[in-house]
Symmetry: C2
Subunit: 413 residues, 2 copies
Amino acid sequence: MGLESLRINGLRLKYAMEEMSKIGAIAGGGVQRLSLSDEDKEARDLFVHWLKELNLDITIDEIGNVFGKRPGRYPDLPPVMSGSHLDSQPKGGRFDGTLGVLGALEVFRTIEENNIETNRTLTIVNWTNEEGTRFSPVMSGSGVWVGALEKEWMYNRTDTEGKRFVNELIRIGYRGNVPSRSSEIHSYFEYHIEQGPILEKACKTIGVPKGIVGIHCSDIYIKGETNHVGPTPMEGRHNALCAAAEMILKVDELPAKMGGNMVATSGEIHNRPNSRNTIPDDVHFTIDMRAWEDDLIQKGFEDLKNSFEEIAQKRGCPVRIEETLSVPHAEFDQKLVQNVFRVSENLGYPGQHMLSGAVHDAGYITQIAPAAMIFVPSIGGRSHVEIEDTTWTDCEAGANVLLHCMLQSASVL
Amino acid sequence: MGLESLRINGLRLKYAMEEMSKIGAIAGGGVQRLSLSDEDKEARDLFVHWLKELNLDITIDEIGNVFGKRPGRYPDLPPVMSGSHLDSQPKGGRFDGTLGVLGALEVFRTIEENNIETNRTLTIVNWTNEEGTRFSPVMSGSGVWVGALEKEWMYNRTDTEGKRFVNELIRIGYRGNVPSRSSEIHSYFEYHIEQGPILEKACKTIGVPKGIVGIHCSDIYIKGETNHVGPTPMEGRHNALCAAAEMILKVDELPAKMGGNMVATSGEIHNRPNSRNTIPDDVHFTIDMRAWEDDLIQKGFEDLKNSFEEIAQKRGCPVRIEETLSVPHAEFDQKLVQNVFRVSENLGYPGQHMLSGAVHDAGYITQIAPAAMIFVPSIGGRSHVEIEDTTWTDCEAGANVLLHCMLQSASVL
């Protein structure tokens, strides 16, 4: 059998997806597998169990990234790598991240059952904490691995209950002893759902992003003065929640003001003491800004800082602005991108050049190696929500593209 | 010894306050004794223990109100009652409510140790859930007792974790078997800290409110559409948190628009899924409006409803508005108010006529009996905050006023 006619097993991929979806399953068809939670541990355990079935060489690094290697004919050559993440949003979907990990797993299973020997080693990876919901910032596993984030700094990040990242990593048994430091890799492919409406609207099966937009995350802390809502006159109040409300609207208005393809969102807010009859004095909210043009983000952030200072001054509510993450836009390797597109078309799947508005571990990988991504359509463009969905036909298509991209790269000497 | 020269024991009151403050003590000198929590139970247990030391006749009603009776010479005459509440805000102060309960306790102790026989029975009370923070609405114990709130409706109210009021009441062992139904009372006095800046500014020791402002509470629920913050264009978003931000600012602007002495506040907000990289689709926030003029509140509420509908329409985020509580302003009994003022002046404490901007159980009591309140200054006008404070000298003064008001009323045949 010529390798061109090789296909993954769509039913086996569906079965693996369904098994994984049971872990942290929530109403509405979604999952809740927050990073380093019990559910994350259970998902990792199942993943490791599947890697062992394939006799892969498993390593876990200090930040909890899990790697499985299938040696090639020339084990000294840099490997071809693929993977994504198993952690989820608080009310996340079944496909986000998981499809990339289990799609790669299905590729490994297909290669193994066909006894295919590749020139290069193949590596599958599950990155730690891509979502960044429980512990910010996002993509901390790949960020540490490529050297963009400090391991010790990440270890000391805390969740809203004050639990330290490193303690939770140890608690679930996934702080490995291998240093988290990137080794040379030949090429990296990440298979993912699109999480946006473009492919569905264009009636295309495979999205081929040329890169990932830049992302800037910050945390805003506002101090007010708490008091009883009844006897305290309106005049002279320092209401931190009102200051936050004004600022959140500035964030929402920013993209229209800046132009370009920018998006900006405040997704998270913590209000204290959060009592209906007490003036709030302690508010923390988040900002997420994204654009292809890095300077647009920087200008936008400066604009927000100025507005926030004015609001803080006016309301007598001092504001502290903490930049949590700033990653410039990432361009994928042009040759790999062309390969993904060509492989898709050869397999009979219409491809679509695009940009990724979501960030992915693949963005960090571009800092050390050629990388590319493979997208499949999100029904209704919905993601980060329980009803996130992709047809099994599309899931199978994306995994076939991944299979042939990996085989091609792994054959290169 | 003539009764006029009788004084409470200030040190004993201070000691009782300090003992009670240890229950649910939090950093900054405050307390957290949310209604029907373990801390509320502990506070109630200590209170009951103290009532037993005085050999009072203790009853606990179906809503958890705790009464202690000291029979008078003519036990068939309606009693003189005093009390307040032992539950607190999430980050509350030591004095709010507690001073009124333990001030009354000190009055009972003083009367007991001096073997004073009063014509009328004296009753001390600790009302259930005055704060309304964990279970809304506020003042549910006294509200049910006077018939303004339905017991069964209150039983089914839930906290943010979905726990039912009645189950928590049973859990802490304070669902009594006595029907919660007001009996005839001669007069009701509630001793409380002012919780505002008026007495301090006026350099007066005793505040004598002529009544309590009206209060209107509502809960606002907004539905949006969640999605990933990256690939989802700004155009066409239905961001429930942005809709809430606009509405919260409308609440803040309302008093200036309406005139009068209105105050309006959004103190509590719950944002879901509350993830930094997900558009919020489910927001709940609260409104608390107060004014002496009941029609101002009604007009203000209509105005808000119109604004909210416009905002909901514009952002494609349907809004549901639930009125949780509407209590008209309460006028205290003019004779009792005059008595409080005269007693204060006779004891050498400068008195100040005023309004209560905070609501109190005394407001509900006006619906069934003559009532009045006694205020002492709040340092810096601060309340509902850990650093809430009142000097021990002022605490003693207020308790002496309460002592003589109660003795006077209890002597009336």
